[in-house]
Symmetry: C3
Subunit: 377 residues, 3 copies
């Protein structure tokens, strides 16, 4: 595969509109997005390796619902609504933990297997007409890909292949390209959680463009000099931004990183790729590691971002210092989230009632804009 480096032709005005400000401030629009976007699409919630053994659980917020991930005794990962079917107590209130054999509600001791089935309850045997199957935990669809658990709260989830995998293919230009990084074999070297006081769409829009790179990302622009021109890697299909000539690795000061991942070919070496999987995943591919962001929209003006830096097992086991490697994108994240937080208060201004504008190097954000607006209309 070779990069396609032709810039899409500009058509029409060089400044086209963003979403109106209300889309970033109106709680009613956020509620619609929760149900029609975050509950309706595949939503990445964890690394599978976060729950290595049977009985491990993890509680996550998906579109306003508390979802429980559980590793079963058969080794499979499953997801359920975190609500006892009897009187509605939350089964788990800790963010994560482990149980032995069952999930037992601490209120009336209704007891569920790790597969969600109702296995016991006080006096249950005397309730002859109760169908235990009917009162199992409510299951949530789950898929694993790229070492990541994705769940979907929709009754009929959209095609995982067309939406999640399709988004990755659309960016890289080739369905097999992503395999080179072997993301499912990588492990979490570092996880940082950011609490961002901004609407989730500001964060997506920020991630999609690089018109801001020269202004707010000095370290990143040093490593990827072409970003100084303002064209994001996502502007092109299959394009990876090239490292600067003097740059030895994707690190905060350009020093060498780790060995190139074994599956990353020469055409992808010394390059940086960025992928957005709507609505809440960003993936950065560099030769020696992968940066994987999962967003959790908490309110119209607040978003949690959980970011994993993924490395080969042997790099993490070696005890090598990851600091210079992690620090580059950690700074980028901080710089980006500061910018998003600076925009949020102005979204309610009458100056932004009809929205702002996108310059040519941001025009591809228009697709996201249209997708987000259509989803709630």
């Amino acid at each position: 595969m070779s990069s396609v480096e032709t810039r899409p032709e500009q058509t029409g005005s060089s400044l086209i509109p963003t979403l109106p400000g209300a889309h970033y401030t109106d709680p009613a629009i956020f509620e619609l997005e929760q149900s029609r976007i975050f509950q309706a699409h595949w939503f990445a919630v964890a690394r599978g390796s976060d729950l290595p053994t049977a009985g491990n659980f993890r509680k996550v917020d998906v579109g306003g619902e508390s979802v429980l991930l559980v590793r079963g005794r058969d080794g499979a990962l499953r997801a359920f609504l975190n609500v006892c079917r009897h009187r509605g107590a939350q089964l788990c209130v800790e963010d994560s933990g482990s149980v032995r054999r069952n999930l037992q509600c601490p209120y009336h001791a209704w007891t569920y297997g790790l597969d969600g089935s109702l296995v016991a309850a006080p006096n249950l045997n005397s309730m002859a007409d109760v169908d235990r199957k009917e009162y199992g935990l409510i299951p949530v669809a789950l898929r694993e890909w790229l070492g990541t658990a994705w769940v979907c709260l929709a009754d009929e989830p959209p095609s995982f292949e067309e939406t999640v995998q399709g988004a990755v293919t659309a960016r890289l230009g080739d369905p097999a390209a992503i395999d080179g990084w072997g993301i499912d074999t990588l492990v979490v070297g570092r996880r940082i959680v950011y609490d961002v006081k901004a609407n989730w769409k500001l964060i997506v829009e920020n991630f999609m463009e690089c018109y801001h790179c020269a202004t707010i990302h000095p370290e990143l622009t040093e490593v990827l000099p072409e970003f100084a021109d303002g064209y994001a890697a996502q502007y092109y299909v299959g394009h990876g931004a090239e490292f600067g000539d003097e740059v030895a690795g994707f690190t905060v000061d350009g020093r060498a990183g780790f060995d190139t991942l074994s599956g990353v070919g020469e055409n992808h070496d010394r390059r940086y790729y960025a992928i957005t999987v709507n609505p809440q995943v960003f993936i950065n591919l560099v030769p020696d590691h992968v940066i994987f962001h999962r967003m959790y929209p908490m309110a119209v003006d607040r978003t949690i971002v959980e970011c994993d830096w993924l490395y080969p097992q042997e790099v993490v086991d070696s005890g090598a210092d990851l600091a210079h490697s992690v620090e580059l994108f950690h700074r980028v994240n901080q710089q980006d989230f500061d910018a998003c937080e600076r925009c949020q208060p102005a979204m309610s201004s009458k100056a932004y009632a009809k929205g702002g504008v996108l310059v040519p190097s941001e025009h591809h954000i228009g697709e996201f804009r249209d997708w987000a607006a259509a989803a709630i209309s």
Copy 2:
């Protein structure tokens, strides 16, 4: 009077529905409940002994209204809206206190007698056409029973006899039964105030059933072994749960309590009774004391519970250690309120959109459910 120990016959499905989740989370429903339940019914606000002498006042929240209780110079307890008729300043901002002869607004010095009448105001004499009676404090209906002050904000309060006293009779099966405990002669040995992050109806429903007792109340089940079966005292008319054979008193470790109250006959000795008076009072009767709960719903997801442990004057005066006596139900309260707080977040889940289910030993909660739903429909 003898206990009626026949269990009501089960009809229909063994699992019947609770209220839908929105009834526990929707602020609009809570506002309806404030006006149609808490302002419309008799609402217990204090022990009369909290205001022993003329000029004593106490400020309480009743259905969102600030109500002022005042002990008059004639010894009578009265209640008023805590609002100056002139420009609306709160007459009292402290939770309780004492005034000498009058209630004077600290803003413009409008002055009201302890009976609520407007007695003075600067330049009032020059306002010839002002009818002082028209500008007295707005009175709130008040009744005293069981040593407790009950107020009602309705223009035409419902029958105290039918609602409050009727609820006690319906539970004990005999209008005279409650007299044995001489509640109006008891005094507050201990008062504990709980701030519960849960809807008030979760607290009522919890209080009404004992299906949870085996799971969350080890101390209580030790004292009242029949509770391990999951049937609450409230499940039966006139039934008192019997103390265990080895149990000497209603204390946290089953040790002896105090002398049985003089009016409590043998048929009520070594027994525990629980009474719910809709919408916000719970009473527990045990041989040597009474536990009296008053709930104050503050928001759809927050309720203040004020709990009094009541003993004979001589017990309190003796300086006896009340700790083992108080500790039992204090632990029960903590265990119950923890459970309620665990349910509250799940009430907004789509898993609870149509509510949860009641097992047979909880079916009597269905009456409360229907009462609460009808009140706002």
Copy 3:
């Protein structure tokens, strides 16, 4: 000019109604007031001297909008919406500060002159069809008077002469009277900012009447004995409340203040004047200084009040102790704001659903009541 001391004739009932309680508690009414009152009228935001040199800026909240005041290189003060035209970042997030030559958005480096014009942006030259004038900062109307900057967010601001200057004339009875205090030549000796948990209209109504003076303002009534009668200076046209015979100056203990301002004639000496300029300015004139309040309504139940004590430059430069001079009205402010905060919680009571009442010495508040109600109807 001589004072007109005839009291307006009383007509009708001696007690007339205030606004209904909802006007002080309903967020929807507050939002209407933000757009139809605070964005529609001239709104005082700063002393011009707060921004002495080119590049100085100050960020202020006007009716929910973030407005940027900027001193230009030509010496003129200008106001703009604090929103970048590109993607909506706030240009300034600090309350005040200084820039060198331009206002540069820290997100994508769009750069505006101090006059608001778009002067540069990355790649702007390649966007041939972009009209830079169209993308300048959005200007806000600005007037300077009494050393104060007043802005108006309306597309067509009302007449400054008729509204702001007209209000001052209506109070003093003579358009030239205010000139005697030379307010534009005075400087800020002390600024105190109050965060008041009350609706802005409670603060206006409090400022307009003196029926409360005897009750809550002992120091002020000592200095201005006629206030003990309950008639505010604002009750009469052109009336200044006279200092007590023993009073040497407008100070907390009646000791001498500073020299009478050079332009204040004998007819205004030893007198106190109070002016309300709707919707958010109060001015107090005393012989040796001026007290200037600017209110910023932040929520239906919260108002920021910024109060300046203004003195001649030479008084401030002399290093004279201003404490006794400032302390008098600082105490008055605290006493007033305490009273307003005491009223706020009662505004939602059913006792105030139709409002409270105004006594004869408060009847002029009825004009404000009608003005405020008409503005949002």
